[in-house]
């Protein structure tokens, strides 16, 4: 301390280092207080940016940790063997194969199961709940199953006492969707009744999916878990199994084991088709995994935008502060204070603002994280949610949130301390800054008197500042547009599918049959003759795979009369030709395969053989047209081409139009119990379910939307307020000439309006591009079967315009008090 006790008595260099630091701190703190509203606004922007990013990134960590924990705790399988539908082998046979794997010693745990499709009737007093499902016969001894365990969320576990008894556990998502009581009784196929002792979570159903691409399928799929013996009795498959799940010792190569297991099975059961899948191929696992990563990607994008807004706002404010300290800086220079030391004061202000923001940000982050996780807990229940405070995340994000705004401010500070001292201490007109681009825009004359010219000239006079101001607002608007646009686009997609499906006979039901039946068979006849039924259209739906140039994905080919009056798809390209063999694809499928109308593709599809079994064959088909449905897997062929599958004159899907009167529930109750019927569903139900589930998220989405809105408003207000400060001297001069406060305000409003319009246009365009980018990177990985076309709804557009144009333009009105109370003589006297 006090080593350099030479020099000037009034300067920090003369006093001890610590008291010098104290002086700079106090001084910068005064600067801060003098502009506390702007400081608070910027700190809040930084807080929202860092807070939401840290909060959401924490959620990512929590989801990751909680699902990983769920998979570990319930010992999710590494490999699963499924026998072809209808095939079974005696108990023990699959375990025997497993034991041979890797020459023994590779398998950690293995359990056989019996998985059989069933129908579940969980109807309550109020509504008919009749859905397809699966019954899982599993090991329930010793708190089993040991692989793909059960976590009983409601009710009790199954024990040895339940073996052989009609007692099961109901999959939790289904129970939750329909708000079913913790325990109860269900009716399953063949009118058998079964009690459920509780509701359970299990890794394969952490997310409920179906083979028909339905993502949030819990509304239409009920899984039941019971003892192996019970499942065997209920389905008439005593002593038989068809499914094996196993875990392997750590460090094993699952893909290699999968190949080996496939080979072993082919040797051991040559007549039985068996599929082996790894954990990574489990549909729920796959989607959850991709979803967590994909969401984080979106948070990253939004974080960048919000940071950009915060950085620009901080930059503007510090630039303004430095500008107003120009003379003081000059004086310090004259006194010989080195530039680095002069820079301390404005830099301290910047650091204090950023620090304030980051500190608030921790609060915002904790709140947002908790809000988000409470919705997630409800939406996707897991055995345990781990939500400990993420020190690492908050530290990293906090450091970034502090550093970036801070570093941005070093630029105006550096510029300010670099000017020659004589220039810095100049006062009056010589200090006046240049006219920017104003001379270039001299010819720009808006109609009206000089009051009308002032705002335009002010915008062009300081192009960099105008640009930066617009940039901050544009960043906030872009974030808003992209975020709300994402919801818009998703809803529009659902809507598009709904409109297409409901384009005719919206009350109709789809009745799935368990296999193809002849058109004159009993089940078809009964349905056709039911007094509740007006029209029946027999169709086929067949799972197939489209192949082209190495690209392949699943299709559900619906075979129907394309001139049907009940319902027929509407085409966007090509034309219906009932006589030509060919297929009608969704636009997304065509794009993914790289085909157009008239091109051909290979379809790997089932064909009924003379033996009565199905074989898979590949056929070259022409693309005859493209339809409007947004789901990739939806494909159509004309019923005249049913011969391709050797299924002419048969049906496994009936479109049923009810007569006037009966409700959807009446129809379901009538159709569901018929032998051969797997499910009966109103065609509008899929979108109803998605709407239902989305509404759970709406509150959260609105919260985020609100936060973005506040952010945009803060940035707008801030730039308006800084702008007004910068114009204080001009305004004082105008007042000296008797120009009224409202006239001055009007000029400020017009100036902001110009900036607001530029910012809004830029923001909407950037938001739109961002939305497209997000959809392009996000949807194919998590929802490959969904064609989400980016749209921005009129409401979103209206909100953006309102924000960017109106709010920004009107922001100066918030400064009216300041303007009215302006000390005109003092402002005129101030020599900046």
């Amino acid at each position: 301390m006090g080593r350099r006790r030479v020099g000037r008595p009034t300067l920090p260099t003369s006093t001890g280092r610590w008291s010098a630091a104290g002086l700079w701190l106090r001084w910068s703190w005064r600067d801060l207080k003098a502009r506390w509203i702007q400081v608070a606004a910027i700190a809040l922007v930084i807080a929202l940016g860092t807070g939401s990013y840290a909060g959401l990134s924490s959620v990512t960590k929590w989801r990751r940790a909680s699902t990983d924990d769920g998979y570990a705790r319930l010992n999710m399988h590494d490999l699963r063997v499924e026998l072809a539908q209808g095939s079974t082998v005696p108990e023990g046979a699959l375990l025997e194969v497993a034991r041979e794997l890797g020459g023994g010693g590779v398998v950690d745990q293995a359990e056989e199961r019996l998985v059989v499709p069933i129908q579940v009737d969980a109807s309550t007093e109020e509504r008919a709940i009749l859905v397809p499902g699966s019954i899982y016969g599993v090991n329930v001894s010793d708190s089993g199953p040991g692989v793909d365990g059960l976590f009983v969320d409601l009710g009790r576990e199954l024990t040895d006492d339940d073996v052989g008894k009609p007692v099961a556990l109901l999959e939790r998502h289904f129970g939750k969707y329909y708000d079913l009581p913790p325990t109860g009784t269900l009716e399953i196929s063949g009118g058998q009744r079964i009690d459920y002792a509780g509701q359970t979570l299990t890794p394969e159903y952490f997310l409920v999916t179906t083979d028909r691409g339905g993502l949030i399928a819990e509304a239409n799929f009920a899984a039941l878990f019971t003892s192996l013996a019970t499942a065997q009795q209920l389905t008439g498959r005593e002593g038989l199994v068809n499914d094996l799940v196993l875990t392997v010792v750590p460090g094993s190569d699952r893909d290699a084991l999968k190949a080996e297991l496939t080979g072993l099975l082919a040797v051991r059961f040559p007549a039985v088709g068996a599929t082996v899948t790894t954990r990574e191929e489990d549909p729920a696992f796959k989607i959850i995994d991709a979803d967590i990563d994909g969401d984080q990607q979106i948070y990253d994008i939004f974080a960048v935008l919000i940071f950009a807004g915060a950085v620009v706002a901080a930059f503007n404010l510090i630039a303004r502060i430095v500008e107003s300290q120009r003379r003081e800086i000059g004086v310090a220079m004259v006194l010989g204070v080195p530039p680095a030391r002069i820079a301390i004061r404005p830099l301290l202000v910047a650091a204090e603002i950023a620090l304030l923001g980051v500190v608030f940000g921790v609060g915002v982050g904790v709140l947002l994280g908790q809000a988000m996780v409470s919705v997630l807990k409800d939406f996707s229940p897991l055995p345990a949610w781990h939500t400990d405070f993420q020190w690492g995340v908050f530290f990293t994000v906090g450091a970034i949130g502090f550093l970036f705004p801070f570093l941005a401010t070093t630029w105006p500070v550096w510029r300010a301390v670099r000017v020659p001292p004589v220039q810095a201490i100049q006062s009056g007109y010589r200090a006046a800054r240049g006219g920017g681009l104003a001379p270039l825009f001299r010819w720009v004359r808006v109609p009206g008197n000089t009051f009308a010219q002032v705002p335009v000239r002010n915008v062009v006079r300081a192009p960099r500042r105008s640009f930066l101001t617009s940039l901050g607002i544009a960043a906030a608007i872009a974030a808003l547009v992209a975020f709300v646009g994402l919801i818009d686009s998703f809803l529009a997609t659902i809507d598009r599918g709904e409109r297409e499906i409901l384009s005719a006979n919206p009350d109709r039901l789809e009745v799935d049959l368990d296999r193809p039946y002849a058109l004159d068979s009993e089940v078809v006849r009964v349905i056709r003759e039911s007094p509740l039924v007006d029209q029946v259209e027999p169709q086929l739906r067949l799972g197939s795979v489209a192949l082209k140039d190495g690209e392949d994905f699943g299709l559900q080919v619906q075979v129907l009369a394309l001139d049907s009056t009940v319902w027929a798809p509407r085409l966007t390209a090509g034309a219906v030709d009932r006589e030509q063999q060919g297929i009608y694809l969704s636009e997304l499928a065509a794009r993914n395969l790289g085909v157009r109308v008239g091109d051909s593709l290979t379809l790997r599809h089932p064909r009924l053989e003379a033996t009565g079994t199905f074989s898979l064959v590949e056929t070259e088909l022409t693309v005859l047209g493209l339809h409007q449905h947004p789901f990739r897997f939806v494909a159509y062929m004309d019923s005249n081409q049913a011969g391709l599958f050797n299924l002419a004159g048969t049906t496994n899907l009936l479109e049923v139009v009810p007569v006037e009167g009966p409700t959807r529930d009446d129809m379901k109750r009538a159709l569901f119990p018929l032998p051969g019927v797997v499910s009966a569903q109103g065609v509008s139900e899929v979108s109803e379910v998605i709407d239902d589930l989305l509404s759970e998220f709406v509150v959260l989405l609105r919260v985020i939307e609100g936060a973005l809105l506040v952010l945009a408003l803060l940035i707008a207000f801030n730039s308006a307020s800084i702008n007004m400060d910068e114009r204080a001297r001009e305004h004082a001069t105008m007042f000296a000439f008797g120009v009224r406060v409202r006239t001055v305000l009007r000029m400020a409003v017009v100036e902001n309006l110009i900036l607001g319009i530029m910012a809004t246009i830029a923001g909407v365009v950037a938001g739109w591009l961002l939305l497209r980018a997000i959809i392009a990177i996000r949807i194919p990985s998590t929802l490959p079967d969904l064609e989400v076309i980016p749209v921005i709804s009129p409401t979103t557009l209206a909100i953006s315009v309102f924000l960017g144009v109106l709010a920004v333009a009107l922001a100066p009105l918030l400064t009216v008090r300041k303007l009215r109370r302006m000390d005109v003589p003092a402002t005129l006297k101030v020599v900046e």
């Binding site: 010589r430 006219g435 008197n449 000089t450 001069t733 000296a736 008797g738 003589p825 005129l828």
Partner: protein, 233 residues
């Protein structure tokens, strides 16, 4: 035209109170060219601001062109500034985004005057023609002050108030600006110039000398009125 009766302007309260103006009484008639002289801090600017309706006295009465501005409403004060007084500042305070002509036109728009001299004509009267389309930062200090004078003249208001109009200028330019201001007094118009420079004061018909907020003398300049061209400082 301007009547000041026992005008006091105090800042602050109690023992720390500063009386920028202390019981000032004076009358300035139409056609006068008055210089308010005094050292820094003597209250010159405060006096000018009060006459210009930018500031109100703590006590006393001020009448400008018949209007009592001590009792006037806010709106009336604005009206006085639009129709009665016009300011010329030491730092010029031109609008940097407007050209010279537009700065002048701004004043015409502000006072709402219809008819009379155009902005170009007023600029010409202060000796600026080619510079009309320039922006302030493209002009020299003397030219900027001419634009500021033209701006004040353009309102056609009867009271012209100039606070240290030559303070930022070199001697030669200052002399010319002073000459210009002197020419503006005449029938229907009074000009009040504030300065701390005793030499400049010699160009006036009447010098009001301030000292610590009080009038220490009021009358023709010491040593008689001098030609502006003979001044030096």
């Amino acid at each position: 035209m301007i009547e000041l009766e026992h005008v006091t302007r105090a800042y602050g309260e109690g023992p720390h109170q500063v009386r920028a103006l202390d019981d000032i009484s004076a009358t300035i008639a139409e056609g006068e060219f008055v210089v308010v002289l005094g050292p820094s801090g003597s209250g010159k600017t405060t006096l000018l601001n009060i006459i210009g309706a930018l500031d109100t006295p703590t006590s006393g009465t001020v009448r400008v062109a018949g209007q009592d501005i001590t009792t006037a409403s806010r709106g009336q004060l604005f009206a006085v500034r639009r129709r009665t007084v016009s300011f010329i500042f030491q730092g010029f305070n031109l609008f940097p985004g407007l050209t010279a002509r537009e700065n002048v036109q701004f004043a015409i728009d502000a006072c709402g005057r219809k008819g009379g001299a155009s902005a170009d004509e007023v600029l010409e009267s202060v000796g600026l023609t080619v510079q009309a389309r320039q922006f302030p930062h493209q002009l020299s200090g003397g030219e900027q002050q001419r634009v500021a004078i033209a701006r004040a003249l353009a309102t056609g208001n009867p009271v012209l108030l100039a606070d240290e109009p030559t303070g930022e200028l070199d001697f030669q330019t200052g002399v010319r600006i002073l000459e210009l201001l002197q020419k503006q007094s005449g029938p229907g118009r009074a000009v009040i110039v504030v300065t701390h420079n005793r030499q400049i004061a010699r160009a006036a018909d009447r010098v009001i000398e301030l000292s610590s907020g009080r009038i220490s003398s009021d009358g023709p300049p010491q040593g008689g009125k001098a030609n502006v061209a003979d001044l030096y400082w």
